[in-house]
């Protein structure tokens, strides 16, 4: 142990903390070596910005004078249905939710131009949306219908909650069939027309802390431009996925459940997306600070795109039919980011779904918050399940 989180926070408050991004630290370690870098650097910041379908927000609406029980009734925000299985005034809006009348894929591929994510982005941008709600009425909550323009100021609480985010590594999607595919990994042209990937690689939070040594339940993070927390392992968290050198997973593996105050966020870091032929989703900006507690942590944050391998999966058969088998290939993020990979003797152009430029901006922003003393680190309250848990 070189330093504790308490010591780091003291330095942050005094404006003396030494902070680098996960991209900058690569050069520092190359130049100075792990041991010296670990002595000199207190915090390394990570970042990621990409679509994460498993997202949504819950709202507590201020009651009208004649009160209304939304639980068991219906609630629509700009025609998008919200979940009303809670109490009188709490509703949950999923990013993927679609208006009842949306054409979906009736004319394939549908364009999915509007859904829950767009409502969340509108609210975060300060716009009002139309609430249409019905209730069955009770003695204590007599109102049976409500139509009103509402914004975040009309809500007691507005909370972004992601059951799953920050996938630690992910598939590279390709299509070996002879027809175009419309997937959550984008449009995949036939006969290996393109290869789409979705990770910030060397800037991605969990790829910089592959064994979850510092990131855990209770970790304070940058979320959507505001402050959030890791609250649980994300759904599908699978720490037992195969790992390569330095414990870095070579398959999709760990995930995080995240929460944060929507009122503190902004649409620069929270963006609705429309995946042609697939559905609506939302891109969420996340940045996680990694305290350099010892040389082992420093070793992990010095990971580069050359070190991280991703599996190439066929989305015409292997993925949709759970066909299993080995990936078509394993490629590094350095190869993916070069613009093309070689597959079956063919040069296949690559496209990203995770914005590296925005991931970079997030890591820089978090670095500046820490530098200015406005963001302090937290000690995790509990560990995420480690490599001994989950399904291989």
């Amino acid at each position: 142990m070189i330093r504790t989180i308490e010591e780091i926070n003291r330095k942050i408050k005094e404006g003396r903390a030494v902070v680098y991004t996960a991209e900058e630290i690569i050069e520092v370690v190359r130049h100075k070596g792990v041991a010296r870098a670990a002595q000199e650097v207190d915090v390394v910041t990570t970042g990621t910005f990409s679509p994460m379908c498993s997202s949504g927000a819950y709202f507590n609406l201020k009651q009208p004078k004649t009160k209304m029980k939304l639980g068991g009734g219906t609630a629509y925000l700009d025609d998008v249905p919200a979940y009303t299985g809670f109490a009188a005034a709490d509703i949950y809006l999923g990013a993927n939710a679609l208006p009842d009348h949306a054409p979906r894929n009736t004319r394939h591929p549908g364009d999915f131009s509007f859904g829950g994510a767009h409502v969340i982005e509108a609210l975060v941008s300060g716009r009002k949306v139309t609430l249409n709600a019905t209730a069955y009425g009770t003695d204590c909550y007599p109102a049976r219908s409500r139509e009103q323009e509402i914004g975040l100021e009309d809500m007691n609480d507005a909370v972004l909650f992601n059951p799953r985010n920050c996938y630690q590594n992910y598939n590279v999607a390709v299509n070996v069939s002879d027809r175009t595919l419309y997937t959550y990994m984008g449009i995949l042209r036939p006969l290996l027309g393109n290869a789409n990937y979705c990770s910030a690689g060397q800037l991605s939070p969990l790829l910089n802390d592959p064994l979850y040594r510092t990131i855990g339940i209770g970790t304070r993070i940058f979320l959507g431009g505001g402050i959030g927390y890791v609250v649980w392992p994300g759904t599908q968290h699978n720490p037992a996925a195969p790992r390569g050198s330095k414990g870095v997973p070579i398959r999709p593996s760990g995930t995080l459940a995240l929460i944060g105050d929507l009122k503190g966020m902004n649409s620069q870091w929270l963006r609705a997306v429309s995946m042609t032929g697939y559905g609506v989703s939302i891109s969420v900006g996340v940045g996680i600070p990694i305290p350099i507690l010892d040389e082992g942590v420093m070793e992990h944050v010095s990971v580069t795109d050359e070190d991280i391998l991703a599996p190439v999966i066929d989305y015409s058969h292997q993925y949709p039919y759970s066909a299993g088998g080995e990936p078509l290939a394993q490629v590094t993020y350095a190869q993916l980011k070069s613009g093309a990979i070689q597959l079956n003797g063919k040069t296949v152009p690559t496209g990203g779904f995770s914005s590296y430029s925005k991931a970079h901006e997030i890591a820089q922003l978090l670095k500046s918050w820490i530098g200015q003393g406005t963001f302090l680190l937290t000690q995790k309250s509990a560990d995420l399940p480690g490599a001994e848990g989950g399904d291989a």
Binding site: S50, S113, I187, N194, T350, G352, S355, S357, K358
Partner: protein, 138 residues
């Protein structure tokens, strides 16, 4: 030498007229077909860039007007809404002419309109709906 981008609209009876051949052979123009939608017996539409001496271009336009092809300056345009674009690079493999490109140091995506052939491939590919083909500025 000057270049103009034009759209020709073919009524069904003229679809088999070898217009491109005439433009090259009789008027000495360089013709680059950008988009074509031509089917025997149906209305056709041809977007092309024509380059040549101004006088030849003028005569060529008289020829296509005489034929009834209703030549119009190409007013289609591609618009990249920078406020929507996150430079994710999903569009990069979809662009056949590399008009959309990414600087692999800054990771900023850019659009070179000179290279764009208005094929529209980037439009459904962009998850943020940042790409739009506009017609006459709309």
């Amino acid at each position: 030498m000057i270049t103009r981008k034009i759209i020709l609209r073919f009524p069904p009876e003229l679809v088999e007229e070898p217009v491109t051949y005439r433009l090259v052979k009789d008027y000495g123009l360089m013709v680059n077909i950008l988009r074509a939608s031509i089917h025997p017996g149906k209305k056709g539409r041809l977007a092309m860039a024509v380059s040549g001496e101004p006088a030849d271009l003028e005569k060529a336009m008289e020829y296509v007007t005489r034929l009834g092809l209703d030549p119009e300056p190409m007013a289609e345009d591609i618009c990249r809404h920078e406020d929507r674009c996150t430079s994710c690079t999903a569009c990069i493999p979809a662009c056949p002419t590399h008009a959309l490109d990414v600087n692999r140091t800054t990771w900023q995506v850019s659009l070179d309109k000179e290279k764009c052939i208005l094929c529209g491939s980037c439009v459904p590919v962009c998850p943020y709906k940042a790409m739009e083909v506009t017609y006459n500025g709309s």
